[in-house]
């Protein structure tokens, strides 16, 4: 294993939810103690449904927000307690690609000025900027003639290429990609996923890849983090998580994804509980087919897989579940 680029320990993030006067705001816990390690040049995928805390996690790692509790180290530097100058320097090491490139690119700027902006902030000369911008459009497979175009003159796939080129402009160590291909058509999605894989091989950049699409995650990820209601319920290398899932929620997610093979009955009933009033104990227990009385007692800790393989699972019945057929 190469050196750890990001080490997160028990990240907690709460948001206030205002209530009618004079009651104090209620606190919504969006992250309830999330830990993970991401090595340089690797891809860690975060999967889970809306409201599971995927995007909140991205906001902590990109240093847009500061976690309320826990520690977060990027390139060995504690970012929670770092001073403003250190955080600013670290920010150029972590960049972001968003779901909708139409919204994330300024419509009034040309591709060239969009790509040059990080370089202006870094203080490059005009000649250096021009050279870097030309190299970067070539790297993402766009013709140099597109530099004078505006975002609305590009297709969705081309815009996402511009967003990726911009994220890589300052040679970051980590790119946080939040649903980068969800808005793209199938044939274009394959182009962009191939591009991300090529860039990782070429530049050694690590990805924190957030997606709800399990087929895409299975293809791009080295390691997987499955989240449910602000907590990690299962983590491990892709082969373990997809081939022998140990948490009932992971199993349900995999069983729910439609395939070309045809219809499958729904694996879960009900929907995500309100994060303002989560169930006691395991947050998944009300929808879980394996739920027993003991599940209501305590939040299950994330422990090493009972079968001894790499990875961890937060379920008190994990060993029985591993014994059951998928």
């Amino acid at each position: 294993m190469s050196e750890a680029l990001v080490v997160a320990q028990d990240l907690v993030r709460r948001y206030p939810v205002p209530r009618r006067w004079p009651r104090p705001p209620q606190w919504l816990q969006a992250l309830g103690g999330v830990s993970f390690t991401l090595a340089a040049g690797r891809t860690l995928a975060v999967v889970g449904e809306s409201g599971c805390g995927k995007s909140t996690l991205a906001r902590q790692v990109t240093m847009v927000e500061t976690p309320d509790e826990g520690t977060l180290a990027i390139e060995g530097i504690d970012v929670v307690h770092a001073d403003a100058a250190t955080r600013r320097r670290l920010r150029s090491r972590v960049q972001m690609v968003f779901q909708n490139p139409h919204a994330s690119l300024n419509p009034r700027k040309t591709v060239e000025s969009l790509l040059a902006e990080p370089l202006v902030i870094r203080g490059d000369t005009a000649a250096e900027r021009r050279r870097h911008v030309l190299a970067s459009v070539e790297r993402v497979g766009l013709p140099a003639a597109y530099l004078r175009r505006y975002p609305h003159m590009l297709s969705g796939g081309q815009r996402q290429r511009v967003a990726i080129a911009r994220a890589l402009m300052l040679e970051p160590a980590l790119v946080v990609a939040d649903e980068p291909v969800s808005a793209l058509d199938l044939s274009v999605q394959a182009q962009v996923l191939n591009l991300l894989a090529d860039l990782q091989r070429e530049l050694g950049v690590a990805y924190l890849f957030i997606s709800h699409n399990l087929a895409v995650v299975r293809h791009v990820a080295h390691d997987v983090l499955v989240m449910y209601l602000g907590r990690v319920v299962e983590s491990g290398p892709r082969e373990r998580v997809f081939v022998a899932p140990a948490h009932p929620y992971t199993r349900a997610l995999l069983a729910s994804a439609p395939t070309l093979a045809g219809a499958t009955p729904p694996a879960l009933h009900g929907e995500l509980p309100s994060p303002l009033a989560p169930p006691s104990g395991c947050a998944f227990r009300e929808r879980c087919p394996y739920s027993i009385a003991a599940c209501a007692a305590d939040v299950p800790p994330l422990l090493p897989r009972p079968d001894g393989g790499p990875g961890a699972v937060a379920c008190i019945r994990a060993s029985e579940i591993l014994g059951a057929a998928i």
Binding site: S187, L193, R218, P258, T264, E271
Partner: protein, 345 residues
Amino acid sequence: MDAVPAGHAPLLDVAGLAVSFPGAHGDVAAVTDAAFSVAAGETLGIVGESGSGKTVSALAIMGLVDAPARVTARTLAIAGHDVAALRPGDRARRALLARRVAMIFQDPLASLDPCYSVGAQLDEVLKEAGTADERASRARRRARALELLRDVEIPDPAARLAAYPHQLSGGMAQRVMIALALAARPALLIADEPTTALDVTVQAQVLALLRKLQAETGMALLMISHDLAVVAAMAARVVVMYAGEVVESGAVPAIFATPRHPYTAALVAALPESVPLGAPLAALPGRVPDPRHRPAGCVFAPRCARRAERCTETRPALADAGGTAVRCFFPLHGPASPAVAGAMP
């Protein structure tokens, strides 16, 4: 050429459907040649990427494409009534559509009126398109509204009647949309990307619900999606659209297992599941043609690995090729996706 059970007139029969919008430099064709039919109790899937014309085709069937757009069709028949002859605003056409056809959309929270409760919105539809009893009696309408919410498996339906759309989750809102669509007991339900905005576990629930409701009511279902797997889970037959026209149609297992049209083959090959883990995906180069500058021959020719001179000059017709209809001079044979994947750089 579409296999509709013999002896049954199809519930929906569309042929030669074209929709164009006037632009600053002449007409822009969104749909040039759509053709499909759906029989009672059957599910037909329409797949295609953005700009393929799948949604515009559905809106045109519903009479929801207004002037100055132009809708023309060789055949457009709903339940045996020829509606191609009737203008979109025609009273007879509206009555036919209101009673026989319903449509649900991708984003249920955008389709529901935020100012009215679920109960009020169901009441409004029943007042317009319910049975004579329901139109006459408010109590009957309320009873039917409760029954509809129960049918779409909404927990605690009596309480939900008073709820407003913003109080519903995405999955619940889509269930309410389905209840509204079923209020008039339609013979055909058009579902345009009904689960695209939903999470995967909720998507599985809503797809199962649609299958159950279809089995109970015997309605026909036209399922529009960009997701091949969603169509595979729902439909027995599928129509593949590209750049405004149908390029392939036939039985679902056959089309996805052994696609005949190079575009269908490329779509199946582009799925992450289609390649071994870690291998590059079979990306389809290029992009959908600009509808203002359509290629002269086959619309797919500029992106096609199999194109010959003939393809760039003459537009192929949708022709029967052993059970499936294909718009291609050089259709693929047998399991096609590996061959195409190998041919693409």
